[in-house]
């Protein structure tokens, strides 16, 4: 196993999305490329852009400076630009094997997608009339609109996947039957059975499971369950059920959780949204009895104290004696977890684990029956959507290797970059996180309209520029002369003398490019150079500009941090090249457009004190003076180069260039400097 060092966001993502890759594409205004990067690993980007549990954001090192990059919102921004658009097509050649996938939740969908792209015939079986599992029935539409889900599923199915809905595993199809018709079976039926607490009165009418409730609401056959509803649990299902009740017109909704807010799996943001909508929360209380004649009237709770940490790392709630209290309720929703349907599994002849799950041999999802694989909730118990997707991906890979008799490969192990040193975080400029706007409260409590909107273009560009480009920084090659200039210029104090050459710690480098521009040996390279190719970029821009404006071409370099939305002004004669901080421009980069025929060069930089990297602007000014001298010496004239701040200055500069006329390199006539 070979460790590959990746940014923390990518290492944290269960499907290892190249987060930095797509965020930087958004930063430079290329949302299409961003989506392409996302789609390489994720066939459900608009779904994930809404409801992903975003471990990437928990891992994001921006949080060490201010707040994590709003990665999920950026994913949604990119994904929503082309929902359901196909990026990949089925391969022309295909394998003969046929695979049955049972269950069309996130795990089954990703497996179907991957296997279809590998060239297998895939048939997807689903018990319900619609595909998507929990995505279609379970996650409320105010968080995840159903047409989004269906469009993304549509794109997956369009890869040539055969779909059989209304077919229940164990009823309409059996495992034996499937094994007769297919070469492999992948079981991803999820875990749809709500767990019921062992207390008196749980059978009273008016006490029901949160999962079932949410499914019924999504199917459209559920009214308000009562006037006063108590929801028991602290996961997404509990909060979803509570917020759904509000939308159905329930006047009093209380969520009771046995631990504190800190331990709550749903997350603080979800709780905050629910509270805004009028949901009440009671922490550290566990139900001990449901009271009522035939229908529930009250629930008795005991206060809990948090004891020793459990296996999960969360502290175990211990009921406190004599702390009982009652909450009145005409309906109780249980959302304390759910488990697979053990009967279905047992009947199929598969080995059943402790909580009714399918027992698999290893992480490939192979079961003890040859050719039968299983993954997702049905194997592990409830997991997040993105984890389920990852499990589907692994299973698809395992099925492919099983068919092709490829030995289980040693997966490359992704290792996260270390955290930033405090000396580095102290030098990083703070930048406010962009939050998506929310539906007004009144609209939220009366409709199932989506609560969160996408970031707008400006927000997305600004937010993407907050990314620290972890791991995309500078590397030093063998030409290093150990002159120590990089050590002296780095605003973050990162380069350090190694045994023979300078070494730049990839975990700490902020990718400003200042050292590379100052390196007298051209021995420092930025990993993101490929994404900002300076010279081919200039060639392309100039060629295009020359077609449109044959007389005067002015090349402008502008700082993306100062102008996140694109060029500061649009003028006929001006052609722009975006640069992530002009402090990375070498003298020769500035000179180059003149060599290939530009009439003038305009540099739009930040003000000195605004520079994201502290000293980029100052170093640029020094380099510009140097280039002006060269321009005077060569006969082009230093006045064809200028650093400007505002629009009117741009216009004045262009007028000045018009007076100077065309670049003498093009005419061959030496013009007085």
């Amino acid at each position: 196993m070979r460790p590959i060092i990746v940014p923390p966001c990518q290492a944290a993502c269960p499907i290892n999305t190249d987060v930095r890759g797509y965020v930087s594409a958004i930063a430079r205004g290329d949302a299409e490329e961003a989506l392409r990067v996302i789609r390489r690993v994720n066939p459900l980007p608009s779904v994930c852009g809404r409801i992903c549990t975003r471990r990437c954001e928990t891992a994001c090192r921006r949080a060490q400076v201010d707040a994590p990059v709003a990665i999920r919102a950026l994913k949604r921004y990119a994904a929503d630009l082309a929902i359901g658009q196909s990026f990949f097509t089925r391969p022309l050649s295909s394998y003969p094997e046929k695979v049955a996938i049972v269950g069309s939740g996130p795990s089954g969908l990703v497996a179907a997608h991957d296997l279809a792209l590998l060239g297998y015939s895939v048939t997807l079986f689903e018990a319900r009339p619609v595909l998507g599992g929990l995505l279609s029935e379970g996650i409320p539409k105010y968080r995840l609109p159903k047409e989004i889900v269906q469009r993304e599923i549509g794109a997956i199915v369009s890869l040539g996947i055969e779909v059989k809905t209304g077919v229940r595993f164990g009823k309409e199809v059996s495992l034996d039957g499937l094994l007769w018709d297919f070469d492999a079976v992948f079981i991803a039926v999820g875990s749809g059975k709500g767990i019921v607490p062992q207390c008196d009165g749980v059978d009273l009418s008016g006490v029901f499971s949160g999962v079932d409730f949410l499914k019924e609401v999504d199917r459209g056959d559920r009214q308000a369950p009562g006037r006063r509803v108590v929801v028991i649990g602290g996961g997404h299902t509990a909060i979803d059920a509570a917020r759904t009740c509000i939308r159905l017109g329930v006047s009093e909704v209380t969520v009771v959780y046995r631990r504190s807010l800190e331990e709550m799996p749903a997350g603080k943001e979800e709780v905050l949204r629910a509270e805004e909508e009028g949901v009440r929360f009671v922490y550290c209380a566990a139900p001990i009895r449901f009271i009522g004649k035939t229908r529930v009237e009250r629930v008795r709770f005991a206060r809990t104290a948090l004891g020793e940490p459990e296996e999960s790392g969360r502290r175990r709630p211990v009921p406190l004696e004599g702390s009982e209290f009652d909450l009145e309720a005409d309906a109780v929703i249980l959302a304390i977890g759910y488990a697979p349907d053990a009967e279905e599994i047992k009947e199929a002849g598969l080995k059943v684990g402790e909580r009714g799950t399918i027992v698999v041999m290893d992480e490939t999802g192979a079961t003890d029956i040859t050719g039968v694989f299983a993954a997702g909730d049905v194997v592990t118990g409830p997991m997040s959507v993105v984890d389920a997707m990852a499990s589907g991906r692994k299973a698809a890979g395992a099925i492919h290797r099983y068919f092709r008799r490829i030995p289980d490969n040693a997966f490359d192990r992704l290792v996260s970059l270390r955290p930033l040193e405090t000396s580095v975080t102290a030098a990083i400029q703070k930048s406010e996180r962009q939050e998506p706007s929310l539906l007004p409260r009144e609209q939220r409590t009366t409709s199932f309209d989506e609560v969160e909107s996408a970031l707008d273009h400006e927000q997305a560009r600004r937010e993407a520029l907050r990314c620290l480009n972890c791991g995309a920084g500078a590397t030093v090659d063998g030409e290093c002369a150990a002159c120590l200039n990089c050590v002296r210029v780095c605003p973050f104090g990162i380069p350090a003398m190694g045994a023979q050459t300078v070494e730049i710690d990839v975990a700490q480098c902020q990718a400003c490019g200042i050292c590379a521009a100052e390196c007298p040996a051209c021995a420092i390279h930025l990993k993101d150079d490929a994404r900002y190719p300076m010279r081919p970029g200039v060639d392309r821009v100039l060629e295009k500009a020359r077609e449109e404006s044959p007389d005067i071409v002015v090349t402008g370099f502008y700082c993306c941090f100062r102008h996140p939305l694109g060029p500061p002004v649009e003028r006929h004669a001006l052609s722009w090249i975006p640069v992530l901080c002009l402090g990375r421009l070498r003298e020769s980069d500035i000179l180059y457009p003149f060599e290939v025929g530009a009439e003038g060069i305009l540099l739009v930089s930040c003000r000195d004190e605004e520079c994201r990297f502290g000293r980029g602007v100052r170093l640029l000014a020094e380099r510009v003076e140097r280039v002006k001298t060269i321009l005077d010496d060569t006969g082009i004239g230093g006045s064809r180069l200028s650093v400007v701040a505002g629009d009117d200055e741009c216009d004045r500069f262009i007028r000045g260039i018009e007076r100077l006329g065309i670049n003498p390199v093009r005419t061959g006539k030496r013009v007085a400097a």
């Binding site: 051209c522 070498r586 060269i630 006969g635 390199v665």
Partner: protein, 217 residues
């Protein structure tokens, strides 16, 4: 370290005027460290020459390259064939490099793009100061590690002279008096007694040129 700086552009341009295909050759040692003659500067000078020649409608083949050291034949030999395809090599090395190159690269003229200035120290990013005159008879052991031969414009061995004004040299207010610096350094080290001792004249015969050195005579 040897510090060199580029000649004025016009002089360089004039020097390579008669040559059609020119290679600007950076040196990867001292002049890279002092930022004046490494790959980055070689590329920049080549670009400037291309532009200047372009304006004059002349053949504009001016390339840039760098080798680790121009002052050793072994390094030069590695690129001899490649360099032979040029009409001239414009060397960004110190005078030693230019002379070595001319010696080992007989078929191509090697021209100096630099003026070799001094043996110096870095005073902060992008700034160097001369500190050693290569006199051949070092006195640093009795001057607190500050060289009066280099840092005093007169090079006197028993200073300061009457030209010292508030610690600055009469030659220029920008130049600190080396002997005041030496006094302060020795005071700091508790060696003022030594400072008061008279220093005998140096053996200037050691500076006879050309200097020679043999490791195992």
């Amino acid at each position: 370290m040897i510090v060199a700086e580029a000649k004025p552009f016009d002089e360089i341009k004039e020097m390579v005027n008669g040559y059609r295909k020119v290679l600007v050759l950076g040196c990867g040692s001292c002049v890279t460290v002092c930022m004046s003659g490494g790959q980055k500067e070689a590329e920049l000078l080549a670009a400037a020459l291309r532009i200047a020649r372009g304006i004059e409608r002349r053949e504009a083949t001016v390339d840039a390259k760098t080798i680790l050291r121009q002052c050793d034949e072994e390094f030069v030999r590695q690129v001899r064939d490649e360099l032979s395809s040029y009409d001239a090599v414009l060397s960004m090395a110190c005078g030693a490099g230019v002379q070595g190159m001319n010696e080992w690269l007989r078929n191509v003229p090697v021209l100096p793009a630099m003026n070799t200035r001094f043996i110096g120290l870095c005073e902060g990013q992008g700034k160097w100061v001369e500190v050693c005159a290569a006199c051949g008879d070092c006195v640093l052991g009795v001057t607190g590690g500050i060289c009066p031969v280099t840092s005093c414009p007169k090079g006197i061995l028993n200073g300061p002279c009457g030209g010292n004004k508030k610690g600055r040299c009469e030659v220029s207010p920008d130049v600190p008096c080396a002997w005041v610096l030496i006094y302060e350094r020795m005071k700091e080290r508790g060696k003022l007694e030594e400072f008061k001792k008279e220093r005998a004249a140096k053996d200037w015969s050691k500076r006879q040129r050309p200097g020679r050195y043999t490791h195992r005579p």
